[in-house]
Amino acid sequence: MNGDRWRKIQEIFDAAVQLDSSEQGRFLQQACGGDPELRKELETLLRSDASGGGFLANAVGKVAQHLLQSEDHLPAQTRVGAYRVLRLLGQGGMGAVYLAERADGQFERQVAIKVVRSEAVHRSQLLTRLQAERRILANLDHPHIARLLDGGATKTAILTWSWSTWMESVWTSTAGRGVCRWTSAFIFSARFAALSNTPMPIS
């Protein structure tokens, strides 16, 4: 379709939607002159316009809602590298954190596995984000601060860190252990929150 005709269709459409349906017929008669194809084009568009635009929001909304549901949950017993998932600890818009344990029986260790939805962010942004998070974790070497054990990208990107530093352990640590640990733990969690929760444009 050439540009002139397309513009003409748009112009007539814009004017016609301002009119009552009873007036549209006469208006189209005038505006389309002796061009029955143009008139038919406009009539079908106006019929579609009258049927409402809810179909778009509906269709997109249903699939988007489904995407946000727990489809990519890792069920208990799922193997992630050397670890086996025990249960979901929490989740947010960016992904979820699971409690897991060594699955190979080499030694007992519980870890937290953070799974970032690869669907939630653009892959390049996701990797930048994970690299920044790893740099921060690498700089914070402290028994009560998450230590990065392993990380990698699978179908979803995965980053793991030690369970002992999950927030629960911060809360159960005794007050006598000093301000320092609490502070650093919170620095960690604050920084982590800044990384995890910053709203980002979805491409």
């Binding site: 379709m1 397309w6 748009q10 459409f13 814009d14 939607v17 079908t44 568009l45 106006l46 019929r47 579609s48 316009d49 049927s51 635009g53 179909f55 778009l56 929001a57 269709a59 997109v60 249903k62 699939v63 988007a64 489904h66 995407l67 549901q69 669907e119 979805i202 491409s203």
Partner: protein, 105 residues
């Protein structure tokens, strides 16, 4: 975002055709019928056709419906007035609706 949703719809739609290995949940709220998936795929196709004729209209639909931007944000992104955006959207929706309901748009 449009790509994400359409890819998801394609995958799920293919899975549903492929047999019964998809676990069925009894929560009605979570069930997405095959119709929903295919409608989105159809919308995506129609939107690509629209983009070939009039890229601005297709972009408006994408920002508002797939990107979830407000009218104000979308108008700013596209550097057009909200009134123009509104016009573009109304026409685009009518055009898409017709494309989806008729055999030859």
């Amino acid at each position: 975002m449009r790509q994400v949703l359409v890819d998801l719809a394609r995958t799920r739609s293919a899975n549903k055709r492929g047999g019964d290995f998809t676990r069925v949940t009894l929560d009605e709220g979570l069930i997405m019928g095959r119709g929903d998936l295919e409608e989105l795929i159809e919308i995506d196709r129609a939107l690509s056709k629209l983009a070939a004729i009039d890229a601005r209209k297709s972009e408006a639909v994408e920002l508002i419906y797939f990107g979830g931007l407000s009218y104000e944000e979308a108008a700013e992104t596209m550097q057009i007035s909200e009134a123009t955006l509104d016009r573009e959207l109304r026409f685009a929706k009518a055009w898409l609706h017709r494309a989806l309901t008729s055999a030859s748009p």
